[in-house]
């Protein structure tokens, strides 16, 4: 029974649980078996919580036995990126610095998903401190793309994307500072939403860049995504940047109809560096939307070219300060030294990986006296201009559309030697974080057997419009139902 369940959407699994076709324990065990079978290849998980998950599932089954109504996510096995705090469960940020760090408290999303009755299967691999676009910067292991094990899964939420694509969890959460949900979602052929800044609480999300970080769901379907958003979005008084906004029921936007909806195509997102095959695939997707009745026109976001430098100044500046607390004094890795300053230096030299150190240095420099105005302040001004670009575009359009990433997944090592090339591949995603608006990546085809993603961008708190377009596209295409061919899956999953 487990075998047929694996690979289904959250809403399908919910029906199975409600009709007692499967118990939460059986479902959870099926996922644990699946993880044991495929994760040696995929390396999505840093921590698997079999006993805890089974215990949680037993509680849900008891509720079912007592005839209690099941909430939409109740009994559904999921997993979290390892930068979201879980009380009593190691939260490592994929860093040597926090290799043995066990938080004394839960992130708000952890609490909300627990309250929703979900089963926590484990914690997922990522680029160290969420810094990277390939998950190659993890201190622990390299997560592989299920569509081609020689390719990266994207990053920084690589583990979160792979766990969903590889059926190792029914859904997962990731975090997105400059594309870290959308790009891996695109690379792995799943749905990934970066909500509006302030829509989902950041409390307990280990900060990379506070003004850009946002948590969001990875799912197989658009409906699942809306269901998870229903559980995690909403005001949190303990996060001062959380917006007191009444969250709608996101599923009510799931209508198979986009007639008359105005979609803008920013020409800057199809410029230099965009793989022609990716552009071709996305253009085919645009045609599908036109055929479905959308009104599509080209538009311009003129300051896009400045987004990358502005982003890498702001993000690294904030990171240099956010990561200052890792000094070996209170928690985490501590190097031996005879004096305090020596301990600080050695701890940070040994505890952080190369990319993290690079960004701390960049950010420290950008904030230095004498450079602040030229770098940080200027970057903030560019940020305002980028925001204004979007404001202007949204006067005319309901949604903007672009490729999620310039290329499909690349091979391991292909870009890691050239950080600048890696940074430039974020061109289609970082402007969205700078503007604080929501964007979703949905499966939109394949290039050389690798998935590509279509990115839909909306107004602040306009997630609904994104879900509507995404849902309509999904209902009229079959990309989301295609699955990678993984060795090992036969052992646990006969449903292919």
């Amino acid at each position: 029974m487990e075998s047929v369940s694996i690979g289904k959407s959250v809403s399908e699994l919910h029906e199975l649980l409600v009709h007692k076709d499967i118990s939460s324990a059986e479902l959870t065990k099926a996922y644990i078996d699946r993880i044991q079978a495929v994760d040696p290849d995929l390396q999505a998980y840093l921590t698997v919580l079999e006993d805890e998950a089974m215990a949680q599932a037993a509680e849900v089954d008891q509720k079912i036995a007592q005839g209690e109504a099941l909430k939409p996510l109740e009994g559904i096995p999921m997993a979290l990126k390892d930068n979201m705090c879980t009380e009593g469960i190691r939260t490592s940020c994929a860093s040597k610095m926090l290799e043995n760090f066990v938080p004394p408290y839960n992130a708000t999303v952890t609490n909300r998903l627990r309250a929703a009755g979900t089963i926590l299967l484990g914690k997922l691999n990522m680029d160290e401190f969420a810094m990277g676009s390939s998950t190659e910067n993890s201190y622990f292991t390299k997560t592989r793309n299920p569509w081609n094990l020689e390719c990266v899964p994207g990053g920084s939420s690589g583990g979160s994307a792979v766990a969903v694509a590889g059926d190792e969890a029914a859904f997962t959460l990731g975090s997105d500072t400059g594309g870290s949900i959308r790009q891996p979602a695109a690379f792995c052929g799943v749905v990934g939403m970066k909500p509006t800044y302030g829509a989902v609480s950041r409390l307990g999300l280990i900060a990379f860049a506070s003004s850009l970080d946002q948590i969001g769901p990875f799912t197989k379907t658009v409906r699942d995504n809306a269901l998870v958003m229903n559980a995690i979005a909403g005001y949190d008084a303990l996060d001062s940047t959380s917006v007191p906004y009444e969250t709608p029921d996101y599923t009510k936007f799931l209508v198979n109809d986009i007639k008359g909806l105005k979609i803008g195509i920013p020409r800057e997102y199809f410029g230099e560096g965009i793989d022609p095959d990716v552009a071709k695939g996305i253009k085919a997707g645009i045609q599908t939307l036109i055929d479905l009745g959308a009104e599509v026109a080209e538009c311009s976001l003129p300051h896009t070219e400045y987004a990358i430098p502005a982003y890498y100044l702001i993000a690294t500046a904030e990171a240099s300060s956010n990561l200052a607390r890792y000094d070996g004094v209170r928690y985490g890795y501590r190097a031996d030294s005879n004096d305090v300053l020596g301990m600080f230096k050695k701890t940070r030299a040994e505890g952080f990986g190369q990319e993290v150190k690079r960004r701390i240095m960049l950010g420290t420099y950008a904030l230095s006296s004498g450079y602040y105005d030229a770098y940080y302040l200027k970057a903030q001004k560019v940020r305002t201009l980028i925001k204004q670009d979007f404001d202007k575009a949204f006067e005319k359009f309901d949604v903007l559309l672009s490729p999620t990433a310039p290329t499909p997944a690349f091979k391991f090592g292909e870009k890691s030697a050239d950080p600048l090339a890696m940074y430039l591949s974020d061109i289609t995603t970082v402007p969205i974080n700078l503007a604080g608006i929501p964007a979703i990546s949905i499966p939109a085809g394949f290039v050389n057997g690798l998935p590509i993603g279509m990115q839909l961008m909306g107004k602040a708190f306009g997630e609904g419009a994104l879900y509507r377009v995404a849902y309509t596209f999904e209902q009229n295409t079959n990309y989301h139902s295609l699955k990678p061919n993984l060795s090992g899956e036969v052992l646990t999953c006969g449903s292919r």
Partner: protein, 482 residues
């Protein structure tokens, strides 16, 4: 102040005051002083990964209140910034503070030195979090084998009040500090317990040739925590700078530290070694918008400040000196006002408060707040004197009894039978006895020696254990002898 006959001293101060809110500035941990190490802590003030600050609105209320009492402009738009530097007592290795847009703008206060009044400008005041405390196994961090950190104080709200370089002498500096602390105490934004480090002073001082208009090079001496250290430190530092200048050398702009034991200031770091704090806006907190209504709401909670109280007491007939003594500390002034509400003679009350009451409290090392004699009890006692129930002299001993027993004056007078004898019939007999027992004195009086009556009164008082109504005794005695 003229130093070495040729230099003028110029001084400005930064004062860090712990605001006495119940909870810390960005979390709900208690601000209580002391406690076992690292027990008043949570993920926020420990700077745990993923923790986020939430601004305690009460801190803003206190900052506005202090700002208003110090005649500062209250900013409609203010924000927090991160001040980045590494130190083990700083849990995030940045301090959340306010940089270019502080909550309080320009203000100031008036001081008086040797009868001369002077306005000392305040540049700004801003909110920030306190750091934890290092506990060394040895004397200092460098000489200790081991140091531990106590984060109980981390996140306690501070208001940093920065003055203009308006002070020209050490007495002016001390007058400014006393006045500042007095106002902060009166507004109850801080308990101002200097011995617990709840107020700390940084001194910026420089010298310049008499008559010069540009400022000399200054030094900043950090972290003093008593008025006497401020005085000693300034005496030392001013003399040191004068020696440097006398020798034809230049004062080095630097941060210094005060060594209480040796009584000297020492270099902490030079200008070249100064921290680059890399301030930038705190992205975890929204900017603070304070509408005018909020400010007016706080203004209404401002108590009568010392100056206004002093004026009121002077209008009631107290001397400037007495009014100053009474209003020096809020607790004493509050005690005085409470007694005044049920005992109208301000002058008499002041004499008792400044005299016997203060003496009793001092002898017993007791603060006014903890006084076993309440203000209303004191008022009752003084009322008994006015009514003639007891004499002033008896009242002094009743006060002592009140102090040790906590009982009301009336109760003590009754229990001990201390009420004045104002019954003519009862006194006449005693007076007759005294007259017949002292014929010589009677004769002396009749011979015109007025002083002799004093002796006779004394004898009568002695016979009545001091309880005879002295006025009545005088009257009756004179009638008898005339």
């Amino acid at each position: 102040m003229v130093v070495a006959n040729k230099y003028e001293m110029v001084c400005g101060l930064e004062v860090h005051v712990e605001l006495q809110t119940k909870t810390k500035i960005f979390c709900s941990c208690t601000t209580e002083f002391g406690g076992e190490q690292n027990t008043h802590v949570c993920p926020v003030c420990l700077g745990m990964p993923g923790a986020l600050p939430v601004l305690n609105r009460e801190v803003v209320n206190y900052a506005i209140k202090a700002g208003l009492a110090l005649n500062c402009e209250i900013a409609e738009f203010s924000k927090f910034d991160r001040k980045n530097y590494f130190y083990p007592d700083l849990s995030k290795n940045y301090q959340t503070s306010q940089f270019d847009l502080p909550i309080c703008g320009k203000g100031g206060l008036e001081i008086e030195v040797d009868g001369e009044k002077k306005w000392i400008g305040i540049t700004r005041a801003h909110m920030e979090e306190d750091a934890g405390k290092l506990v060394h196994s040895g004397d200092t961090i460098t000489t200790s084998n081991e140091s531990s950190v106590d984060y109980n104080r981390a996140g306690v709200p501070l208001l940093e009040i920065v003055s203009e370089p308006d002070m020209r002498s050490i007495p002016e500096v001390l007058a400014y500090l006393e006045k500042l602390v007095q106002i902060l105490e009166y507004t109850e934004v801080s308990d101002c317990r200097l011995e617990q480090g709840s107020v700390r002073f940084d001194i910026n001082v420089s010298l310049r040739p008499m008559g010069a208009t540009t400022l000399g090079t200054r030094t900043e001496t950090k972290n003093l925590n008593s008025f006497s250290s401020v005085r000693r430190c300034m005496e030392y530092e001013v003399a040191r700078q004068a020696r440097v200048l006398d020798a034809g050398e230049k004062v080095v702009q630097e941060t210094r530290t005060w060594d209480e034991g040796q009584g000297v200031t020492l270099t902490l770091r030079s200008k070249e070694e100064a921290h680059d704090y890399r301030y930038f806006p705190e992205p975890d907190l929204a900017p603070l918008v304070i509408d005018r209504e909020w400010v007016e709401r706080i203004r209404k909670t401002l108590p009568e400040l010392p100056e206004a109280r002093r004026a009121r007491l002077q209008a009631l007939g107290l001397s400037a000196y007495d009014a100053g003594v009474i209003t020096q500390a809020k607790a004493l002034s509050d005690f005085f006002d409470a007694a005044l509400s049920s005992y109208g003679d301000a002058k008499t009350l002041a004499n008792w408060v400044m005299g016997d009451v203060t003496r009793l409290l001092n002898t017993n090392q007791c603060s006014v707040v903890d006084s076993p004699i309440s203000a209303t009890q004191l008022a009752e006692l003084l009322g008994l004197i006015d009514k003639g129930t007891i004499s002033g002299k008896i009242a002094k001993s009743v006060l002592e009894d009140m102090y040790s027993t906590g009982k009301d004056a009336g109760v003590i007078v009754k229990e001990k039978g201390l009420a004045q004898i104002s019954d003519e019939g009862a006194l006449i007999g005693i007076i007759d006895d005294v007259i017949s027992a002292n014929p010589q004195s009677v004769e002396d009086f009749r011979a015109g020696k007025d002083r002799a009556i004093g002796f006779l009164v004394g004898q009568i008082m002695k016979a009545t254990k001091g309880q005879a109504n002295p006025g009545l005794v005088n009257k009756l005695l004179k009638e008898k002898l005339s």
